[in-house]
Subunit: 356 residues, 2 copies
């Protein structure tokens, strides 16, 4: 089992460490330590409020002493390349025998010096955003699967689509179903160790990548939870989101929404429409290929008071007629029950497996 | 002015020579000759029924003798690479001093031997599908333009979207408007000498590529005609089509349809919906970013009798309430008038320029 040293130098606990934070939240057993010399000596729990006793360390050597065998590069970097500080850390890590898992747009394997050093040291470089070489153009092959496919969609990017699917997977596993998660972005891939960054493939192959992933996830599962990306209304990312929808051909959708998000991410000119409109649009554009029914709403209420959050959940449940929750703040159960009930209805029978 | 030798060996006049045929139809003044040794001695007009006296030649040397200064690779090639015969022709062309314009997925510039020879001979290699290095993520910048933006959309791929925009450009030029065409695919780029293959960019940058192109086309134009790609309902290409819609933020749409096309290209499992449904979906998914009104329908009636074509045009005009024509078989005028009227209405004034 890979054990990561999460590189977060100068950024841990800030919004820029979001990727590393998600790996800690959903895959803590894979995290040996976090590297941020500003916070060395603290625990992850001290900084984030979750993550418990995972140590924050001040050097790569300390990370290795805590059991790390891989460096995880999950921070945000502006512009191309890695910047001198990060590149030095990658160089040193390879020299010390760590594998590298890199989610940035720049590829470690394309840096001749780092690649040569990795070859000499026998370590493996995982550039998560490098697409597979032989992706197909999508042709709707998912329609032949027996598995029930569920896709998280959203009124905007960065709104909780991966989170709800990971929570759902855990809950459905607890209930004894054969469930799989199909990672479509870097954080999901860090957490699950496989997947394709669908926003990093050549545009002609978005749906083909989604199709490939969904078919792979369905091999040993009755229910496939496909991680969503972006929004079909986001000015930058809508193409990725629609290709993912038409490639994964979900039977059911979980609609994700952040009530306090008034305008689209990085697009303050553009208001986020009401979630009911977003749901209707998704169902309309899915239908000609394969009808998809929205079966639940996942709210991100992180910027609301407890009272406001509960009121908003009730309001949206009323407005949409759908099970609604904030799966991080409250309870995933309504959505887990909705997926099981949908799966049972689709199969015209009792749920694939009964609650444990 | 570049004068192409169109490489079409063994394929001229077959469906596989579609790209070359379009260049001949819309840009004949750029075509010195077509290379297909099977048909050497004939004229393009003999083979295609249009293209007049452009000669078909049996060798690269003959093409040069007819005035060619560039080899245009516009045929379809199965699998990666160029195949031995085509690669030999490219090698010889470079050796004889021809530039190369290549629309295939494989890049001539990535072949070390061909690249070195091109450098030594001082010829330029144009790999049309290679994306620009510095594309932005789309952020709706087109909304700041003064120009009226018109996008061709369709009920399927390969249905006449480029064709109608090229016909429209010619007609609007004749009417004295300042009109530009924004090429989004290889054939459009061959014809116009600039553009971006939006299906060849990394998925995150589809809308950014469309935005960049539209802004560039608007520099010297009051009306920008954006070449469409695919369909927002095509199982393989819908992501590209939606990114193009949300990146170019059209004010108006021309809806393209082929009445005899019953199922989606390469997807015989999937029926093509009625054009009225396709129009409604496009307008619904455009609206939250910027409302787009469909102002005309362009039909491809190439597989219908004259009588059936006229009847279908009348039927669809009645069903949609929109000006409808087959711009290749009949007359572009109804669509040219629709664009001018829309532009005038949008500007709250008389048309930007009056008919000549």
């Amino acid at each position: 089992m890979t054990r990561y040293l999460i590189y977060s130098e100068g950024q841990f606990g800030t919004p820029a460490s979001k990727t590393g934070n998600s790996v800690i939240r959903y895959s803590a057993e894979h995290v040996a330590a976090v590297l941020d010399s500003r916070l060395a000596g603290k625990t992850v729990g001290d900084v984030l409020g979750y993550g418990g006793d995972i140590p924050v360390v001040g050097s790569i050597e300390e990370g290795i002493a805590r059991g790390a065998d891989a460096l995880l590069v999950g921070i945000a970097v502006h512009g191309g390349g890695f910047g001198p500080e990060l590149r030095t850390a990658i160089h040193k890590s390879i020299g010390l025998g760590l594998d590298v898992w890199n989610g940035l747009h720049g590829f470690v394997g394309d840096d001749p010096e780092l690649a040569a050093l990795a070859a000499a040291r026998g370590v493996t470089l995982h550039d998560l955003r490098r697409p597979p070489a032989d992706l197909p153009v999508g042709t709707g092959l998912v329609r032949h699967l027996d598995a029930t496919v569920v896709l998280a969609v959203g009124s905007d990017a960065n709104i909780g689509k991966m989170t709800v699917m990971l929570q759902l997977r855990a809950a459905l596993r607890d209930r004894g179903t054969r469930v799989a998660f199909a990672p479509t972005g870097q954080t999901g891939i860090f957490i699950d160790g496989w997947g394709i960054c669908v926003d990093a493939v050549v545009a002609d192959f978005i749906a083909g990548a989604a199709e490939t992933l969904t078919i792979q996830a369905a091999r040993d599962a009755d229910i496939v939870l496909v991680e969503g990306q972006g929004s079909i209304l986001h000015p930058g990312y809508s193409g990725v989101s629609l290709g993912l929808l038409h490639g994964s051909l979900p039977h059911a959708l979980i609609a994700c929404h952040q009530p306090t998000r008034k305008t689209f991410r990085h697009n303050a000119w553009l208001p986020v429409p009401p979630i009911a409109d977003v749901i209707a649009l998704h169902e309309a554009i899915a239908k000609p290929l394969r009808p998809a029914r929205t079966i639940g709403v996942s709210l991100n209420t992180s910027e609301m008071s407890d009272r406001d959050a509960r009121a908003e959940i009730a309001r949206i449940a009323e407005e949409t007629g759908l099970p609604t929750t904030d799966p991080v703040r409250f309870d995933i159960t309504p959505l887990a029950e909705a997926v099981q009930a949908f799966d049972a209805e689709r199969r015209g029978a009792a749920p694939a497996t009964s609650p444990a």
